[in-house]
Symmetry: D2
Subunit: 406 residues, 4 copies
Amino acid sequence: MADLQTRYRAEKKSFLDRLNSGEVVIGDGGYVFALEKRGYVKAGPWTPEACIEHPEAVRQLAREFGRNGADVMQAFTFYASDDKLANRGNKAQENYTGASINAAGCKIAREVAEEINGLMAGGVSQTPTYLSGAGKEKVQEIFEKQAKVFKENNVDFLIVEYFEHVEEACWAIEVLKKTGIPIAASLCIGPDGDLHGVSTGECAIRLANAGADVVGINCHFDPQICLDAVQLMKDALDEKGIKCHLMVQPLGFVTPDCNRQGFIDLPEFPFGLEPRIITRWEAHAFARRAYEMGVRYIGGCCGIEPYHTRAMAEELSKERGFLPVASEKHGLWGAGLKMHTKPWVRARARPEYWKNLKPASGRPYCSSLSKPDAWGVTAGTEELKQKKDETTQKELEALYSKADKN
Amino acid sequence: MADLQTRYRAEKKSFLDRLNSGEVVIGDGGYVFALEKRGYVKAGPWTPEACIEHPEAVRQLAREFGRNGADVMQAFTFYASDDKLANRGNKAQENYTGASINAAGCKIAREVAEEINGLMAGGVSQTPTYLSGAGKEKVQEIFEKQAKVFKENNVDFLIVEYFEHVEEACWAIEVLKKTGIPIAASLCIGPDGDLHGVSTGECAIRLANAGADVVGINCHFDPQICLDAVQLMKDALDEKGIKCHLMVQPLGFVTPDCNRQGFIDLPEFPFGLEPRIITRWEAHAFARRAYEMGVRYIGGCCGIEPYHTRAMAEELSKERGFLPVASEKHGLWGAGLKMHTKPWVRARARPEYWKNLKPASGRPYCSSLSKPDAWGVTAGTEELKQKKDETTQKELEALYSKADKN
Amino acid sequence: MADLQTRYRAEKKSFLDRLNSGEVVIGDGGYVFALEKRGYVKAGPWTPEACIEHPEAVRQLAREFGRNGADVMQAFTFYASDDKLANRGNKAQENYTGASINAAGCKIAREVAEEINGLMAGGVSQTPTYLSGAGKEKVQEIFEKQAKVFKENNVDFLIVEYFEHVEEACWAIEVLKKTGIPIAASLCIGPDGDLHGVSTGECAIRLANAGADVVGINCHFDPQICLDAVQLMKDALDEKGIKCHLMVQPLGFVTPDCNRQGFIDLPEFPFGLEPRIITRWEAHAFARRAYEMGVRYIGGCCGIEPYHTRAMAEELSKERGFLPVASEKHGLWGAGLKMHTKPWVRARARPEYWKNLKPASGRPYCSSLSKPDAWGVTAGTEELKQKKDETTQKELEALYSKADKN
Amino acid sequence: MADLQTRYRAEKKSFLDRLNSGEVVIGDGGYVFALEKRGYVKAGPWTPEACIEHPEAVRQLAREFGRNGADVMQAFTFYASDDKLANRGNKAQENYTGASINAAGCKIAREVAEEINGLMAGGVSQTPTYLSGAGKEKVQEIFEKQAKVFKENNVDFLIVEYFEHVEEACWAIEVLKKTGIPIAASLCIGPDGDLHGVSTGECAIRLANAGADVVGINCHFDPQICLDAVQLMKDALDEKGIKCHLMVQPLGFVTPDCNRQGFIDLPEFPFGLEPRIITRWEAHAFARRAYEMGVRYIGGCCGIEPYHTRAMAEELSKERGFLPVASEKHGLWGAGLKMHTKPWVRARARPEYWKNLKPASGRPYCSSLSKPDAWGVTAGTEELKQKKDETTQKELEALYSKADKN
């Protein structure tokens, strides 16, 4: 650490220039989950109206990611499409349009990106409209509305993320491509392919062919499974001779027991995932493996908190030439523990200790793995069709009863 | 929820008036651990210079606790004594005095307390000076310096917390008592008594006799073990006929495998505790049991995040007559999940689901319990004597070697 | 091992002479559970009519215990009282009297005891008559019938074992004492005392005062918990200055999660206990701790198989001066693995390997601990009254319903 | 159970006639592991000289398997080849020839087969000679010596089992085929193929083409993994249109964490496998799935004890038309518990209870899965070459050191 300064990125350089020159770009983490815990986002709809309601809270979280090593400030615009804001009784749309939320998110992200000499990105994700089986035209209308805001706000690049169906992601790329802004596209799938059965490798090819500059995986699976999936993408692209950068933004939860649909199906989702939260050392190991695989856009999704971002940036500090600012308040591999009052805690101030630790759960009445729910539904299935009205008590009871039988 | 407004506390009333009238006072959570993860506090020294360096980060966390139900804004002054700021190579003291940090902490806490119509408290905790075996006079000098700042800042009440030895806590109470401000005193011990072997019940009696208005337990153990310890305190006070309010501010980690010294001794401390983080439902159960035991000052310590505070306030919302503001973004017992896109997640929008969930760790190569370190040292033991100099590499290697033999 | 002959005990010496001279007497293991797995004993009634129906099977098991180090051949007479043979629809009593089974058991035990130069014992255990609340006279009549057979068969000593209530055990001792034969008495209780609330220490005093030559614990708890209970007995006897030998015959299952009533209450009892079976190395550790505590009659109960007995005898082979015969087919601490074909298995031919092994369960969907049933019944409670008739379907359904509600 | 008699098989019918008419043939269990625990077989060499040294012990175990439902009495001749009896310092060969052991094993098996109206089989398994890289001729010489004894003893069929390399198994079939006796051939591999990389499906084809009448899997993996492997065999045979009966004789241990080489590589092998022992209910589920897949020779290998065999026979009692004799001492699905003294145990006398039970390990300091050793050696590798001399201390220390580094 002696030879590495703790600082923000020294110079501003474009997204693609960085990737083309082999630099690592560190992404930020999971706004939705972090802000849910802080009291600004509602689990269920998961929509980002906090950008308007509590900009100071969103800005503080963004600063924390920046301070802890992120190069990218992604506007907090997840699920900010008008159909989602109005879905199943969500009141957000009564007060705000998707466009106004997207604009507010861009403003915050740009402000913090300036502070850290970082990049600012806008993003789109899958839509209730697609899940309900509406066609391409209706779905692309939604993306067009979002693209317009991002273009006006002069984002450095665009993120197409959290798609379970590569088809919809390609529709999104097609729309966003018209802006002329670079596109990073990631699906929320694992090694078993998308929810229509397209293989993970084939998905990468389709994304690249649709015009994505960077392809990869985000959300739904743990760091190691996401990297397994990215490896399949890389292999498929290499085989076809397609040149494309790679990205990965995994969950901050361990999920070895997931099925194809990822952590949504685990019984612990979303309010009992604590025992699965990854440690900072697991974030270190993730960043190293991603780097060695050739992935250069390395970040996080749901469950990734600022200290996980810091761990990634610390792991890759030699490659990057600097440590994140917040490492002043950490010390590599627990070095700060040298100042602890208890001698046996000072004895933990070294990498070997943390690399070998197998953390206990403290939960002897709980198992280590769960059987995921497996309702076998996908886009177009009746149960997956979305609607504006609140779910009725009768509908809920039918669901409870079905769940209890599983 | 229909009959309960989400709002801040409607009227300002003094700390003791509230407790005397049987009201629940909800404490805030763990600043040190939360700010460590956000990148503002260094694990090892754990000192609170962030009050000066990054007031916006401390203020945001305080607001989150308030928004999620806390009535108390405790100034972030943990370990803000000059001897701790200078201990074992900590650089904080080169830049700031304890007094300046304490004053900055008070300013932030007062600001947010005003916003939420809450109470503001200042706090003192155990000192390296005591651990190193210095006598009563030297230790009390430290508390006097801190008391002076709290008095000047007009705190609503004083907290004497995180003491492993009741003797030192009583010395602190003796000093603070002179301010005439009400005192809440809690030890970081479990049912096995303090580190000098004084029983937990006897500790309560000594704290009350020394002048504490509220006595109880904070930190070092999980919610259930802390309540077991408070029960012992209550029984001892009842037996002696001593009238005293009760408080509890436990860890946000499950620690069934601790020994007398608590979570510090667990191999996972402090950087591998993730699988032990309590769920919001465990926070619900804790608040209920605490209330039923007659505890009225109910809060949290290390590991308690804003959503845990919200869970406590939601659990006790009927008794308090209102929900925390952030419940607008939650919904009791997962009710917000009614708006989820996936039907099996909507099927989780009910208390029975979450009350019965036994969350899996996702970690099949890890055990559920750990053997704690047990070096058997306490105040005065050579290995526990503190010093201003950095720990040398040679000293560290001796510790590593001792640790590896255990 | 080079210096220790593998052989049976060289000379015949009386039970009390052995104990008085400080020799270790190794008991045999659990006939009921072993023969249930082999297909000769029915779980539920657990009665020993196999002594008459399949003497070759009983004899073979006895020989295995002898060959693996046991000094004691305990006649397989557990629950061989007429009231138990007729309880709840058990058909055994239609064909055999308790007396005929006891006699057949003695014959087998004597035969094998001769082969190994060992001791032969007869035993009595708690009765349905007592559990149903009948008085002392009726209960003692049962023990008298059993004592008569043991006296006729010239047993070397008598075992009073598997009593949940010290009162009934003392009634048994009172009866057996009249034979003039030495008595070893053990309760199936843990550190929390008997099921009427008599403390474990007090139980020991009562047993000794009633005339037992050896007192201790058998069944219901794992080796470590049984030893914790024996320690309480030892402390109580020492305090009163009562001289008495100590015995322990624990389960071959780990049961850290039991309540006062032991493994009967665990949800896994009796057909899902496999993951709790102790390893031979845990039997080693048990024998060592028992020896160091001063216990000299060391054996096993339910779940203890011949290889566990061998492990105890191997652990204490230096103290005893010889190894059990079956060690020719073992080798201390896995030494036989030197002959394995796979090199990494040969690398396990050493004590350090096995002492440090923490065996995995291979069951990631199962927890490590269970919540025991806790119906809170004891002798005299309506639900515990026994009867000759089969349990009716209606009675069973009431039980199923009660169980499902717990 | 009312409509099913408990009895031995009523009529004697040939092995192939039974299979050809679709009858289930139930195999016996694991002699080597069961007799190791009883004190007659040495772990490491694992050779069956007990047939000569202690025929009564082998006979008793055979009777137990028969009594509990096995139709097959397999002579206890595992590893009874002269090269194995002399391997790495094994003394067995000084006293007995392979031929004499095989003959003694046949005699016992025939005796018990007569008692139960069952089938008697002889078996060969893989040889140190093959592992050491000797050629086909030398390996086949060994099988010829064994075949001669089996032919003389008029076995009902021959078993070629426990081969890690399909090549050696085919060499064995080639030799045994000359006897004109039906052959059942099973490899100790899983779904990942044999140790030379031949796929599991291809292995089945080669075995059938070499002349096996029945093909399948035995040992090395748990029941579910073995069935996964048999499914691959079935699919491959079906695709090629090869008609062949299927067999499966799995471990009695759960091994989800194995690699290609099976349970030998698990750190718990062979003296810490207890927590992995399958319950009788897991044996039920195994027998059902095997039957439904079309497997008709269903038995067990290492770790399968008589009560597991009983569970298989009870599960398939309707299909077979009778219950095993030992079911008189069991009762389907725990029905015997109706006679238990404790009411909450009587509440367990039903299938739903046991089908839903997830048995706890009682071991909170142990993990649920292990990382297997993975030395990556196979036939011909230097470290796998076998020799007659004892492993020297120096060789052992080199192994210990290599193991500790892994």
